[in-house]
Each structure stands twice: as C-alpha cells, then as structure tokens.
Symmetry: C2
Subunit: 354 residues, 2 copies
Amino acid sequence: MERISTVRQIAQTKGAEAVLLTFLPDVRWVCGFTGSNGLLIVLPDGAHFITDGRYTTQAQSEVEHATIHIASGSLFEYAAENGLLAGRTSVLYQADKLTVSEFDLLQRRFSAVTWIGADDLLVHVVASKSPEEIERMRRAQHLTERVFEEILDVIRPGLTEKEIAAEIVYRHLKGGAERMSFEPIVASGPNGALPHGRPSSRKIQPGDMIVLDFGCHLEGYASDMTRTVAVGEPGEEARAVYEVVLQAQQAALESARAGMPSADLDRTARRVIEDAGYGSYFTHGLGHGLGLQVHEWPRVSHTADYVLPLYAAVTIEPGVYLPGKFGVRIEDVVVLHEEHAVNLTSARKDLIVL
Amino acid sequence: MERISTVRQIAQTKGAEAVLLTFLPDVRWVCGFTGSNGLLIVLPDGAHFITDGRYTTQAQSEVEHATIHIASGSLFEYAAENGLLAGRTSVLYQADKLTVSEFDLLQRRFSAVTWIGADDLLVHVVASKSPEEIERMRRAQHLTERVFEEILDVIRPGLTEKEIAAEIVYRHLKGGAERMSFEPIVASGPNGALPHGRPSSRKIQPGDMIVLDFGCHLEGYASDMTRTVAVGEPGEEARAVYEVVLQAQQAALESARAGMPSADLDRTARRVIEDAGYGSYFTHGLGHGLGLQVHEWPRVSHTADYVLPLYAAVTIEPGVYLPGKFGVRIEDVVVLHEEHAVNLTSARKDLIVL
C-alpha cells in the first residue's frame, strides 16, 4: 500500500480528517523530500507539501503524492493564509515533534480546528522496512564494513583516538556516504569502559582494547556497527570478556525474530553475560531500531513492553564495561523475519589482535 | 556578572520565581555542561542540573553553579518526583524549545505551577560574547583558515565535490575540531548558483568557480568561512562578479559596528551589488550570529527590525548566484565593537586562480 494511504488510515482510526506531519524523517518517508525544511498535510483526497525557496527545484524532483507549495516565511503561516486546512475540523498532529510555540501559532491561525495530538505517530509503520529500504541499508552497512577493514591497517600505537576517528569519517565520505550517522566512537583502554565516550587525545598503547562504533547515511539510510579490537596481546581477562560478549551476541542473533517480545530478545543476550558473572557491567539495552534515522523505534530492551515488528531493522549490541580497565561491545544490524533474523553485517567477529 | 544571575534577572522581569532551561546550548552557556541530555532549573537561591547516568563523571567535572542530579528515566519525571520545583508557583520555560508532549507532562506533574512561556529567552544575552569566547572563536576560525590553505593544494580538475568535502572534514578533525559546524558546501560551476547545495559527484572542470563554505566546532565554538576560487581562468563575467561581491563585503566590513540596525548593515552590502546590476541575484540575508551554535540570533538581514548588539559575533557573507553559470560568496566572521568590527578571519580574498 502507498505510504500516504497508511497515513490516511491512521487518521481514520484516530477520528481525524487530516494529518499534519512536522517531523522531517516522517515527511521524507511519506513523500520523499530530503531537505531540511518542510511539512506535509495529508487530506482524505490529496496532500500539500510546503517548503521554502531554497528547495523549489529539489521538491519538484523528489516529492510524490502531494501538491508542492513554496513559502517565503513561516510554513505554518503559509498553510493558514492559503487555506490548506479549510473546512477541516479535526486534525491529527505530532505532539512530540512540535514546539509549544508552533502549536500556539497553529491554534491561533486555525481556530476552527480541533487538534488531536499523538506521540510516536508513525513509528510502527516506519519500523517495517520494504525490500528496497533493506537493500539500501545493506549498502550502507557494507560501506561501513569496508571502512572497518581499511581502518585495521591504520590503527597502531601512538595514534590518538581522534586521529582514528578522523580516518573513519574521511573514508566514509570518500566512499560516498552523505554524512556520518553519529560521531564515531573510538574508545581505547580504560576509555572503552564509557559506553558513549567521545574520541579523545589519548594515544593508543600496546595491549589496548579499542571499541570502534560508527556508521553513516547512504541513500538516506543509516548503518551502525561496533567491533572491539586489540592492539597487541590484551591479556586473559580481555580475551575472556570478549568471548562472553561474542557468545551473548550469538545467542541473540540466533533467537531474534519478528513477533518476539523486545524484552525477551534483550534477556537472551543478558543471560549469557549474567551467567558469566558480568551482568552488572552490561549497562545499556541490547539494541535499537534504525532506518532513515540511526535511532528509531523499537528499542530492544529488557524494559520495553512491546513485541518486535516484522521487517524491523534493529541493532544487536551487547557490551561489557569494566571501569578503569576496558570495554567490549560487538554490534550487528539485523532485519527481523517471521522465523529468523537476516544479518546485514558480515565483518569478522573473532578477536582481532593487531 | 555570572551568567546564572543574568538568568535570575530575566526571570524577575518576567514575574517568574524559577526558570526551566531545556535548550542544550543555553544549558551549556549557563552551567557548562557539554553532553547531549540535560536540563537546568534556576531558582532564586540555587539551581538544579539533571542528566542521565552516562554523564555522571562528565557532569561532575563540567557543571558549575548547580546541584547535580542523575535520573534513570525522564528528566522531567525526576524533577517532579524529587520536588525540585516544590513551592514554586510561577516558572518561566522555553516555549520554542519544548515539545507539546513534554509540556503536557510538565502541566500534569507540576499542577501547582503557572507556566510562563517565552520564545528566544536567552538569545540577547548569549549574543554578546565574552573575551574568552571570542578567543575560542578566533582559534576555531584559524583552524578553518588553515584547512582552506591546505585545500588549495588539493583542488584540481577531475576531483568531485564530494571528494573535496571529505578532505575538508578530514583536515578539520585531524586538526582537533570536535565536529563540523555544518556539512561543507563545495559547489562548483553551475552548482555554485544554489546557495546551499550539497556536495555532489560533479567533477571539477577547468574554468570552474568553486564556492567553498565550511566551519567546525572547536572548544565548543563555531567557525564559518566562505571563499570562492577559480580552477583555471574563469572568464570576464566571473571576475567582474567576484569583484562586486568583494567590494560589497568590504563595504559591510567597514561600516559594521554594534548599535547599528541589522537591516542597515545588510543594505550597505546589498547596495553595492544592486548598483552593479546584480541585486536580484543576491538571494539571501547578509549574515547570521554564531557562537556555541553556528546559527544564532541576530540575523543580519534587510528584513530584521532590531539593532545589532555589542560584542555579537556575526558573519558577513554577500553572494551573487547566476543560474546555470556560477556563484560567488565571500564570508568572514566579525565581532561588533562600539565603533567598528574586529574581523576574526584573515584568509586572503583576492581571486585565487588555481
């Protein structure tokens, strides 16, 4: 079904005549626009897309299923002045993607409308990826893997985390990435015990474990991968922890499938880590959805209370972080099918000792 | 005066007992926190900073003037459960930096509070930079200039815009930048006529004009610079337009000072371009403020209705864009003093023909 029809159906179930989409990744998902300013009004019998003059040409080549409007000032003001919601009495809007000030303006300018706010309006339908989306994600993930292989030749004692991060970014952009999906994490030695540390000026030392976590956007879609490598012999404890994290990830990869409670998938990996005595050092959830955004619904977490949807793309990324010592995290992206998960990631996972 | 006292003074003038800051650059400006999740409650006799467990260590080393709290879930819920606004009846909040859903939660959880919404709450005080901030901006701008000089040796026919952009990013990160302040613009030949085009796979050709617009964050603060260079002889029209844009910028740099209406500064440059017959091809405002963000209040624009504040850092970036042919833009960052502007940018501005 066309995505815009899906939006109309959601409007119906919420008792709304129209939908105002203000969250850009959702606007893109529905009508194809990739710019940085735009909103979409979905009506039962049509749709209006509004952007500004910078995007006149781009909107014409990208936007489908909607009449294109170019506003010179506020997009909301344009919609009001041009009566784009004329005659509509109930409109669904994204309450978690609109500021209080913007909503005040809407209420003033569309005084005849009853506004129906919703959080997470499209997350369930956006989560299920089409075959074309999965192919794009596979290409993005493949570029990230290629960069990982190149980076293995770059890493050596004496380089700083920041320098390695710069190499990672450079190679993604040279490889065609539109942008990084987040600032690369290069966390060496004790820095690896901070799950989201930023690259520092710390120099790589012999014996370091290094957590490398990075991804890009290619054709709109995000990649995300973590590998932990050693620079010289890291010692017994590091090897043991690596093996535990790898087994935890393997257990999750083997049991992952659509229809499974998110919490159960998290626990599959968590149990392996707990049984090895490291339970209190796995301090985050197992993974997250991704697609047009690098972090999307659903989370894969023992605190989540929902079931994982069919064709969702999610990360599986268990980790163990020993304060003052090192961290280990291993992350793949998988797509959930009815009976199994398809791994989009093929980079090797045995402990690499450089 | 301490910044937190400034916030208290603003609260007083708005008749509020407390202020809730939710916009992270403002939170950073007041208390120093540089992480990605946090909020600040400023009371007449103290302040509360709330973040999550990822930032325990970082908050302790960064945050000044506030009691630090670590929340395990929603920061707003934490504030409610721990009575951080107990006894306060009127609280100022950032209506343009809070979603409708977040505000609904606040209203439910703090039923005794009257919420006073404000847009642009701190923009006027954030705009005036301290000497230390200006030094940081100078260092950021200097790094960007150094990268520009290096890039001149890289640019040659056959390279794509994307490849040049990758080199620009790489050199900034290697030079110590925390991140780019925006995706670099590398717009060659006819692409230069799109003021905000993204780097494409177009290969540089002999005779091209190339618009190079980029900047980074260093020590938190943003740089931003544009230069337009030619690859081989670009021809008479390009040389003539370059001269007009340069003269327009020069006129603005010479007249810029604090206390001047923003519109007047814009018109100083615009008049030069209009007099040369290119007025309709200068399709954007003259500049924008910058600091912790690369785009801040004030805009420098003929449509602005305010006066430029003392010690504001703003860009001066006139441009002429000839559709189908080329574009020229030249951009410096200046700090506005009482009688003149101090240019933080020293990269050469004669037309460079590579």
